[in-house]
């Protein structure tokens, strides 16, 4: 009797495995027989959470007969993966740390492909009263009210060394505060999520807290959120995305040809148009702006947005 039940359970599991296996493999693109090139990308979470990267990699895979593997990790982790040689390409948004990374010889051929802006979002009731403030003043006010124990004033930080976290620290600094002593761990009003942008927005929404987000991820998640945009103007809120190769001199067996193709693909006219129009039909406005014609505005060189890698 027991043995029969055992066999029944086993049979059900095997059947399930077969069904899964079949439906799973039928969703695969038909193998062309030739070995596909694999491109490993470590990306900031915003490009993945908004599905932009998914959209672009589908196009790329068709054009180049390649397979794109995306590890969504936040800029800090992405740089770490790059430094260890575990990926071929980085897609990040933290100019200062990119510069260091390139200066240290790990990254080459940086190209800027998109930009948008950071926004400070929070509950509609805005208990800290920061709506429409200049970013640094808004941050200072948040900290002051938070430290004073004003009810409902909570800030959720990415807390994951991502590009957004870097930007947040830069704003605290510009507001005249020392991040590690005045902000981090200064009280229960300041929480570190340690998660990607989408997850951090969801957390801020649960807690009805304030958080800094790139506008792209916010728009993509807006339907599920009660948070509203409170601060969205100020030069410091500029958010510039780049793609770069990992230096093949550091890691000779890295797939540098396909990596080069990817970076050039990102700054190509067609993809720039894709980026500019991505999400407009769904969200009523673009999630990202193409960098192509706005290089002066976003403070990068023309070569960085238009010159393909040779």
């Amino acid at each position: 009797m027991q043995r029969r039940t055992l066999f029944a359970v086993a049979a059900v599991m095997v059947a399930f495995l077969l069904i899964c296996g079949c439906t799973g493999t039928t969703s695969d693109p038909v193998s062309t027989g030739t070995e596909k090139q694999q491109l490993r990308i470590a990306t900031t979470t915003s490009l993945d959470d908004t599905k932009l990267l998914n959209h672009l990699s589908t196009i790329f895979e068709k054009q180049y007969n390649a397979e794109v593997l995306v590890v969504s990790a936040g800029t800090g982790k992405a740089l770490e993966y790059g430094q260890r040689g575990d990926v071929d390409v980085l897609m990040v948004h933290d100019r200062a740390r990119e510069d260091t990374f390139i200066a240290d010889g790990y990254g080459i051929n940086r190209r800027v492909f998109a930009y948008n802006y950071f926004i400070l979002v929070g509950p509609e009731s805005d208990p800290a009263g920061i709506k429409g403030m200049e970013p640094t003043k808004a941050f200072a006010a948040l900290r002051e009210k938070g430290m004073a124990g004003e009810p409902g004033v909570t800030f959720v930080s990415r807390g994951d060394a991502s590009g957004t976290h870097s930007k947040e620290q830069a704003i605290w600094k510009k507001a005249g505060l020392n991040y590690s002593t005045d902000v981090q761990g200064s009280g229960d009003w300041y929480l570190e999520a340690g998660k990607g942008m989408g997850a951090t927005l969801a957390m801020a929404n649960e807690k009805q807290a304030y958080t800094l987000s790139d506008i792209g991820t916010y728009l993509a998640y807006k339907g599920d959120l009660d948070l509203v945009t409170l601060v969205d103007e100020g030069d410091i809120l500029l958010n510039v995305y780049c793609a770069m190769q990992i230096n093949p001199e550091k890691y000779p067996d890295i797939n540098s040809t396909i990596a080069k193709d990817w970076v050039n693909f990102m700054i190509s006219d067609d993809v720039q148009k894709e980026i500019a129009s991505f999400g407009v039909d769904k969200y009523g406005q673009p999630l990202f702006y193409a960098a192509q014609n706005d290089w002066a505005k976003i403070g990068v060189t023309e070569a960085e947005v238009t010159d393909p890698i040779k």
Binding site: E67, V70, G85, G198, A199
Partner: protein
Amino acid sequence: MYEIIEGFIEAARLIVTFDPDVMAIAARSIIVSFTATIIATLIAVPFGAVINFGTFPGRKSLINLIQTLYSLPTVIVGLLIFLLISRVGPFGFLRLLFTPTAMIIAQTVLILPIMTGLTISALSGVDPVIRDTLYSLGATRLQFLVNIMKEARFAILTAVAVGFGRAISEVGAAILVGGNIMASSFASSTRTLTTAISLETSMGNIPTSIALGIILLAIALGVNLAITRMQHR
């Protein structure tokens, strides 16, 4: 409340329509954990037999060590394997990081101690009368082993089921060495039931999470049911 009900309805739809994404994730989970369990079985059973029947100095301590490692935290295994197979690590040249193979390795390492330990218990639990009988009948070493294994087969199967249950339900190692990748081909993706639930829930994709959760639960409960049935024999 509405979200939960709506989530369950959508989850049911994803399951009964065999949604390709959900099924691919479930299948990948089963394949990865099943492979890890088979490899671990091939190591743990002979290893357990050697420890159980062998007489060598430090045998007791070795058994103690194995039992201590039952509670090996999954993220520690993930970290260890990550350091070993990352490009700059000693096995970096194999380029295994962020592949299903990496997850299989991590899960194998994770479940080896408990499977070895349970194998030792299974073999030592065989009635001494049977052992004595085998000896007195002049069984060769191989015959002896084969017969003891036969006697202990259900207890060993329990060890296998426990190993599989631990492998398929862990998330810490899978996310660190797998990277939760959703690629266009089945074989390159590393998104499993646990990593997908973790990710989808944190990003608010509740229906998918519930659907994946139901499948994971069904697998885990199925395995547990099998274990219980075996133990009642």
